[in-house]
Amino acid sequence: MITAPRLEIAVLVLGMIILMLEAFAPKIDKKVFAFIGIAGLAAVLIGTFFLTPSAPTDQATGFWSFYTADPLSIFFKRFSLLTTILVLVMMIDYAPVVRASDGTASSSLGEFFALPVLTCAGLMYTVSAIDFVSIFVSIELVTVSFFVLVSFTRRNPATLEAGVKYLILGALSTAFLVYGITWIFGVTGETNLQRITAAFANPNIDKNAALFGAVLVLVGLGFKIAAVPFQIWVPDVYQGAPTPVTAYLSVGSKAVGFVVLLRVLRPFMMLPKMERLLVLIALLTVLYGNLAALPQNNLKRLLAYSSIAHAGYLLIGVACINGPAVTFYLVAYLLMTLLSFAVLIIVAQQTGEEISDFDGLAKRSPFLAFAMLIAMVSLAGVPFTAGFFGKFFIFYAAIDQHQTALVVVGVITVACGFYYYLKVIRAMYWQPSARIDNIPVSGLSRLAMTALIVAIIWLGIYPTPILDALKR
């Protein structure tokens, strides 16, 4: 049996090993590092099924007052590991682009494969954090690795712009987060979420000051999850960053943001006006994401806006305090987003990232077109795909809480979503293509995509495994 923190240590050591190998064995083909990373993370993923149960969190002391190994965190550790493995698979496909942009040799590819592993350790730590101190440290671990990853192909001006924007706004959000934590600490004298909850039971604390702190924390986390009005950086950064990093950013970083949000909000939902504020943010986010996605012609940018839209649906779940609905949606979002990015990476190297570059894909590669079709219909929310169950649970939660405005706006924006996701399907299936040569797909990518397609349909019919995993 293993205790939970050893998983993060194992991942960290794995990342170090890859970096060391790169430094001391320059002759090895860089792709080997990616395979080492995938194999190592897969081993850790298996390890998560042999954890010893942790002590209950309410009387925890010492290290365990900063760190929990509850079902939610274990679940999202697996989630982070799976995401990182899939991102590494995509990075192997993307390696030629990095090599080309580097100009000289393939010297930096080793870091390109090592950094996601280190980021993964950060993601896994973040989902276990139950104290503002550990939340802050782990989120920064994630963000700092992303600063490097986003601007990795730095000779490309768009990437550089993305890197600078992400750096500045990331720093700004960190500042908000710290300031908020300070206010909350000032009011309650605690940083541990459990004890903050207990402190709020005291009628003498200053509710307004606590609310101010909570709003600042919300602003800080709003940057991470791309909620309106803190979404301005998203389209440019997503479009400019190397595509696997965009995928990683939009799944990994967003998922842990939501886990932290769920944990942090639990005590603060007792505060007045907090719920109304969340409902407002959720409304704005679904509206902005979906409406702004309508006119997009660049697929990567479209996916950026779609990720804002999905953040909106997730926020509906958060505003209704429905953890299982949010979790299921995140899992569905992981599967379908990574699938669409995986196809995008392969097609973009052949033609480009515009939607028109997908014209006639069904003729050139029926497999890729079918994978994209499944990803798009799942993102749109067609039944028998995981995306539909995600929306179903979210809408159920909203109706259960009598959030009429959220339901009405949600339904209208879902219809918007069909328009822009089906645009991609139209390009693939009924626009003529200028080229007819086949697109090669490597065996590993084909395997990963097939697994994702099967998972999307399987969860679309039988969602029980995810719902059960949270209960244990």
């Binding site: 749109a380 879902v414 069909f418 399907i425």
Partner: protein, 508 residues
């Protein structure tokens, strides 16, 4: 059925045959996509399904109460979602409609130039969606199966459509998405309107709850309005009908047959299956609104149909118009009217499929469906002309065809609602107006027949050939069933009407 037959029936274990019915088209579609010969596989799957449905029809014990051939698989214990299949008279008739039209649609598929496999796969997916929706006893799968048809329809119109196909494909998809998500909200509200202990997505459990008056009247009104709006969009209830004519005019003939004939009946089936038994208070409360809207379908759309200058648009509008009659039957709120509505769903599905099939054949030969270009085609296509004549007469509602047998029940049923010897109620006024719809449909159908098949023929059509003998099989099948229902309506009526017996009275 005889004793030996009964034993045979037990041997094959009928519950699994419903599963076969729903999954057979999906499996066939996957096989086709994997490389099996497209047309042959599709025909075999559709034929096998017809066989199973006919078996189900002949072994159905209409004198028994409740759902038959039931099979159930647990999907989520927390949410009480089951993958449950079963048939009562109402769904049995619609399943029969679905398999007949599927076979005809597959049979009528001509040569497809690109992505032939995908075309057949899309048709089969639509068929499976319809069958699954009609056979599901669980609200979740009832809803989900209908949506299975959405993307194939989008692709069918978009890839293989004619005219302004892109716009038509978007319009139908966005409209139907909006409608079905409104339905979804209504269904979730319905689920939550029942006390926590008896919450379930199972239609049987919900009916149980409704019989014991567990759904509050206030909730019933709200949910009924949502369902009427959502299902109304799916069925092209006036004024949410604009997607339908455009989509059917652009769609390839087999897609229009399946969609107008079968999938569009889903919304009506939903109202009959959910609104009538579960929300009687809501149905009563909003009956007047529904009556006004359905008169929009019958009178306004009827007049619009007369004004059409192309055969495909005219057929599209006519299918919108005929929905008005079915809504009238649903609004009547008595067994006579609702049974008539269910019967007309069956009859209309067959007749509109036949009309679209022949229109598609005409288009494939002439390349146009504008009335001004056509005329006199019966000279070169006598069999097509005959079949179109039959279908047109059926659609108008001439005695001897299924449509007449069903429409007359609707008119009697609606007239009886709120009937007071001293004065006319809104229902009597509506029925009187709706009867004029028969005249309207006679005008446009006969006009279409005259302009297409009668009169002088243009020189350039002299080389056109009639339908291949093979295509006469599905036509004969469709006409045969229409006439069979027309002459022996009781074979169908006796199995449909028990579905409403627990919830409605014979007259009011």
């Amino acid at each position: 059925m005889c004793f030996v037959g009964k034993q045979l029936f037990n041997l094959v274990h009928f519950p699994l045959m419903l599963l076969f019915l729903v999954l057979c088209p999906i499996v066939a579609a996957i096989l086709i996509l994997a490389g099996a010969p497209a047309r042959l596989t599709a025909l075999l799957a559709a034929g096998a399904n017809l066989l199973v449905a006919v078996l189900a029809f002949s072994f159905f014990e209409w004198w028994e109460h409740g759902f038959q051939f039931v099979s159930s698989f647990l999907v989520s214990a927390d949410w009480r979602i089951h993958f449950a299949l079963g048939l009562d008279g109402l769904s049995l008739v619609l399943v029969l409609l679905a398999v007949i039209v599927t076979l005809a649609a597959v049979w009528f598929t001509g040569k497809i130039d690109n992505y032939e496999q995908a075309f057949y796969a899309c048709l089969l997916f639509i068929s499976s969606g319809a069958l699954g929706a009609f056979a599901s006893l669980d609200l979740f799968f009832f809803y989900a199966f209908h949506e299975l048809a959405l993307i194939p329809t989008f692709l069918l119109i978009g890839i293989w459509g004619t005219g302004n196909r892109s716009a038509a494909a978007w319009k139908i998809t966005i409209y139907l998405t909006l409608g079905s998500f409104i339905v979804l909200i209504g269904l979730i509200l319905l689920y939550q309107s029942v006390p926590v202990a008896s919450r379930s997505f199972d239609i049987r459990a919900l009916q149980e709850a409704a019989v014991t008056h567990q759904i509050a009247p206030e909730a019933q009104r709200n949910i009924y309005l949502l369902l009427l709006l959502g299902f109304g969009i799916l069925v092209s209830l006036f004024p949410f009908h604009t997607w339908a004519p455009e989509a059917y005019a652009s769609a390839p003939a087999p897609a229009a047959m399946l969609h107008a004939g079968v999938i569009k009946k889903f919304g009506l089936y939903g109202l009959l299956r959910l609104a009538i038994p579960l929300l009687p208070e809501g149905a009563h409360y909003w009956a007047h609104l529904l009556v006004v809207l359905l008169l929009g379908n019958i009178i306004y759309i009827g007049l619009v149909t007369i004004a059409q200058k192309r055969l495909d648009w005219m057929l599209g509008y006519s299918s919108v118009m005929h929905m008005g009659y079915i809504f009238l039957g649903i609004a009547s709120g008595n067994i006579l009217g609702t049974t008539g509505a269910a019967g007309l769903m069956f009859a209309h599905g067959l007749s509109i499929a036949l009309l679209f099939a022949i229109a598609g054949e005409v288009r494939s030969r002439t390349g146009t469906l504008a009335f001004d270009d056509l005329g006199g085609l019966a000279k070169v296509m006598p069999f097509a002309g005959l079949a179109f004549g039959f279908a047109a007469f059926a659609a108008i509602g001439l005695p001897g065809f299924a449509n007449f047998a069903a429409e007359i029940m609707i008119f009697f049923g609606a007239f009886q609602n709120g009937w007071d010897m001293s004065r006319f109620h809104i229902f009597q006024v509506a029925t009187a107006l709706a009867l004029w719809g028969v005249v309207i449909s006679a005008v446009y159908m006969l006009r279409a027949y005259r302009k297409t098949f009668m009169g002088t023929m243009a020189e350039r059509w002299t080389n056109i050939v009639d339908l291949r003998p093979a295509l006469r099989v599905p036509i004969t099948l469709l006409i045969g069933v229409l006439i069979w229902y027309g002459f022996f309506p009781n074979t169908f009526v006796r199995i449909i009407s028990p579905a409403f017996r627990n919830y409605l009275t014979a007259t009011k």
